[in-house]
Structure formats: structure tokens, C-alpha cells
């Protein structure tokens, strides 16, 4: 076996040994961990798609701190991740990141965490340190750093370090199912109401998508003076994540987006996320902001005209009405 092959085998074994290495966390039995911080490393090779090559998890309670490290050789071929010592086998020159998390708050889809990143690059002087105060959506990655390979010995071009946060479900509630009854309501100035309905069932903490059947509007009905006979298509969709707390209240994160259009033209998209709490079975209406945007249309005479959706729907109120009911324990999905 050649020396290069020996080095490759040893590097692989070292990587296996360190990929699951425990990061540094001070355990606090009084407070259970509620959030798991995940440090991921994605490498882009010279050819082929980007892929995840290493990850390290740090479970934290509120107010607790924990850290993890990642090191890679200058050519990005040797890698180590985890607690102290997990990166020692990476020979110089190398890049070393020490990432320290401090969990400040953990609500549904709003995880406030301080991320202290110290980066040491051999041969490039002292360490660089940055402190970020992040509010993360569950599972959504936030890029911490980027490094390019200084050589092409193993075909690696660059690496990205990203962090994400995942809620740790309470064992007593982790298997609960939540039933979502979703209504889209749109009311005009006269009180006339149009509705659409969707129902979903999802596990505790699971985000589930929904899409209402489109609402169709006639411009002749909306604004007869316009002299344009078109059908406007209003589409509302989104996703919902809910979490039943030990006190029986529900934490909810409702993401909603809306599009308006006619023919092949669309106004683009608008949307947002609302985080709130509700009681089981409580009907909560979340009103969407007034419609906006414009699009060009042709009148019956062939004259171009501008459709102003804010004007067309000025008396309309759109809302998503949500009722969440936890299903009894043991209910099959």
C-alpha cells in the first residue's frame, strides 16, 4: 500500500471517529434541552453537486451555552468535527472554526441564539471572531462562513459552514397529532363572504403545507366602470406548524402567501409568517394585509389599462381562520 493510500485510509478512519464526537456542553439536569443546534459542512467539488460532509449537534436548554469545532485541511480533503480534540488530526496548514452557541429563547419557529464564531487560518495571522445574534426558523439554515480550497489534490473546490436549529420535542408530547382546520375567508364591503377550506393532520412540531382552491374574481363585478372584462385568479397557500405545550396551549406558526393574476400575468408573491398561541379548538382569524400590485390588461376596445389590485379590492378583507385540535393519544394518522 502506498503512503498516499495509508494517509487516505487514516484520514477516513479519523473522520469516522470524529463525525459523531460530542461537542462541549455543560449539562444542566434542572433544565431539559429544548433546542438542538446543528453545524453542517457542505462541500462543493470541482465537478458534481454540493453535498453535506460533516455535521455536529449541540443540545441546549434556555440560557445554556455549548460549542463545537470544525477543522479542514487547506485543500478541504481532511476534515474533523465535534468537541475538543476532534480536529487535532488535521495537519497544518488548516482552517479551524470554533462555534459557540448560547440559547436565549426558543419559541416555535423563533429560536434566538447567539453564535460566536472564531476562525483560525494557519499562515494568515490571528484568529477572526464574529458574534451573531440570530433568530432562526426551525430547520432553516443560516450560512456562517465559506472557504475555498487552496489546492485541487482531491477535487474539492469550496466548503460552506451553516447552522440551523431544531426543536427537541418533549417525550410526552412528541407523538401527538394535531388536526388543522383552515378556512380562507374573503369579505367585501357589503358583508358578502367567499370561503375555501382545507384540513390537515400533522405530528407535533411538523410543518405541513396547504393550498386553498383559487378564488376567481370578475373585474366587471369588482369595478364595472373599468370597462375590462377579465377574471382575476387569487391563490392563497402556505404552511402551518403547531406544537402542543405541557400547559395545554398551542404554539402556532402560520406561513401564508398570496398571488393575484389574470391570463398569464401575475403580480408576484407576497407573504409572511405569524407566530401566536391559541387554545385547543379556539378559532383564530389571521387577517392578511390589503392586496397590492398592478398588472397590465387590455380593455374590450384593445386599449391597454393598468389593473390596480389595491383599488380593485379596496373594500375586501382576506383572512385565514384556523382551528387546531390535538387528537387523542394513540390516534392513528
Amino acid at each position: 500500500m502506498s503512503i498516499n493510500r495509508w494517509i487516505a485510509v487514516l484520514s477516513f478512519l479519523a473522520l469516522l471517529a470524529t463525525a459523531t464526537a460530542s461537542p462541549s456542553v455543560q449539562p444542566d439536569p434542572a433544565q431539559p434541552a429544548v433546542t438542538q443546534m446543528v453545524l453542517r459542512v457542505l462541500v462543493t467539488p470541482d465537478t458534481g453537486p454540493t453535498r453535506e460532509v460533516a455535521s455536529s449537534n449541540v443540545a441546549l436548554a434556555i440560557g445554556q451555552s455549548g460549542s463545537t469545532m470544525f477543522a479542514t485541511s487547506a485543500d478541504l480533503c481532511g476534515r474533523g468535527i465535534g468537541g475538543a480534540g476532534a480536529t487535532d488530526h488535521i495537519g497544518s496548514p488548516r482552517h479551524v472554526w470554533t462555534v459557540r452557541f448560547t440559547l436565549n429563547a426558543a419559541e416555535i419557529d423563533r429560536i434566538a441564539v447567539d453564535v460566536d464564531v472564531e476562525r483560525q487560518d494557519d499562515g494568515l495571522g490571528g484568529a477572526r471572531r464574529t458574534l451573531r445574534q440570530l433568530i432562526l426558523t426551525e430547520g432553516a439554515p443560516h450560512i456562517l462562513d465559506f472557504v475555498e480550497s487552496s489546492g485541487r489534490t482531491c477535487g474539492q473546490a469550496s466548503a460552506v459552514l451553516e447552522v440551523s436549529a431544531v426543536a427537541i420535542e418533549s417525550p410526552a408530547l412528541s407523538r401527538r397529532l394535531l388536526n388543522y382546520d383552515l378556512w380562507l375567508t374573503q369579505r367585501d364591503g357589503t358583508g358578502r363572504e367567499w370561503t375555501r377550506r382545507e384540513a390537515r393532520t400533522a405530528e407535533q412540531g411538523e410543518r405541513v403545507d396547504f393550498r386553498f382552491q383559487p378564488l376567481m374574481w370578475s373585474t366587471t363585478m369588482l369595478m364595472p366602470s373599468l370597462g375590462i372584462d377579465l377574471t382575476i385568479d387569487e391563490r392563497v397557500s402556505g404552511s402551518i406548524r403547531g406544537r402542543l405545550r405541557a400547559d395545554g396551549q398551542l404554539e402556532l406558526s402560520l406561513a401564508t402567501s398570496r398571488r393575484l393574476g389574470h391570463g398569464n400575468g401575475w403580480t408576484g408573491s407576497e407573504g409572511g409568517t405569524k407566530v401566536f398561541t391559541a387554545r385547543a379548538g379556539e378559532a383564530v382569524s389571521v387577517e392578511l394585509p390589503r392586496m397590492g400590485g398592478r398588472s397590465l390588461a387590455l380593455s374590450a376596445a384593445g386599449t391597454p389599462a393598468l389593473l390596480d389590485y389595491q383599488e380593485l379590492f379596496k373594500s375586501h378583507t382576506t383572512a385565514v381562520v384556523l382551528v387546531v385540535s390535538p387528537l387523542p393519544d394513540g390516534t392513528n394518522r
Binding site: 382546520d181 378556512w183 375567508t185 370561503t195 377550506r197 377579465l230 401564508t256 393574476g261 389574470h262 391570463g263 398569464n264 400575468g265 401575475w266 403580480t267 408576484g268 408573491s269 407576497e270 407573504g271 409572511g272 409568517t273 405569524k274 401566536f276 391559541a278 379556539e282 378559532a283 383564530v284 382569524s285 389571521v286 387577517e287 392578511l288 394585509p289 397590492g292 400590485g293 398592478r294 398588472s295 397590465l296 390588461a297 387590455l298 391597454p304 383572512a319 381562520v321 382551528v323
Partner: protein, 130 residues
């Protein structure tokens, strides 16, 4: 006894046509007069015989007939009540089902109304043509 006389007197008692000469001859005979008187007594007895249902019979029959009539009336009332109950149940069922469908087609009345804050909503509206 002269059979002809007896027959003629019997007809007389029964108010049938008779031969007066024969009746006159018959009444000359004492034996025949006694027979005639016997006929008259028998007729009188028959005329006074007013046999018919007793008062007790009338009362008993009256009660029986009244009971039967009341039973028939009661049955009609029961049948009407049952029909009314069935119609009411059907209408109630239809009403409840209609109400349930109407309710299922209607969104629940919100206990709370929230709004997206400006910081929670992003618009990426564009101008496009068709």
C-alpha cells in the same frame, strides 16, 4: 163442530173476508160461539205480547257499541299522532342535516382576530402584462 164455521170465524178474527151467512149460522151454535170467544182471547193475548230486548240488554249493547266506537276513535287518534311524529322526525332530520351542512360550509366564528404586522409581511409584487 162444523169445520167450515170454525174456519170462517178464524178468518173473521184475522180480519179476512168472510161469508156473513156462514158466520151468522156459526154463531147460532153455542159450541161455535165458545170457539169464537176463544179465538178473540187468543188474538187479544197475541196483541198484548210486546216481547223485545230488555233494558239490561239495551244497556249492555250500548256500552259494547260505545266501547267499540271509542276504541276506533282512539286508534285513529294514535295513527294520526304516529303520522305527525314521523313527519316531525323527518322534518327535524332534514332541518338538522341542512343546518349541519350549512354550518360545515361556514367558517367558525373567530374567537380572536390577529393581523400580519408590517414586519411579518413581505411583498414582492411586480408589474406584468397579459
Amino acid at each position: 163442530m162444523n169445520a167450515l164455521w170454525a174456519e170462517e170465524l178464524s178468518r173473521l178474527v184475522d180480519a179476512e173476508p168472510v161469508d156473513p151467512e156462514v158466520v151468522a149460522d156459526a154463531l147460532e151454535s153455542p159450541e161455535t160461539r165458545l170457539l169464537f170467544v176463544g179465538f178473540l182471547r187468543l188474538r187479544a193475548a197475541v196483541r198484548e205480547d210486546r216481547y223485545g230486548p230488555s233494558v239490561a240488554f239495551h244497556d249492555r249493547m250500548g256500552r259494547t257499541l260505545q266501547a267499540a266506537e271509542r276504541q276506533s276513535t282512539d286508534r285513529r287518534v294514535v295513527l294520526r299522532l304516529v303520522a305527525a311524529l314521523i313527519v316531525t322526525a323527518l322534518l327535524t332530520g332534514l332541518g338538522v342535516e341542512s343546518w349541519r351542512r350549512w354550518r360545515d360550509d361556514r367558517p367558525p366564528r373567530p374567537n380572536r382576530v390577529l393581523r400580519f404586522d408590517a414586519s411579518e409581511w413581505t411583498s414582492n409584487t411586480t408589474r406584468s402584462g397579459s
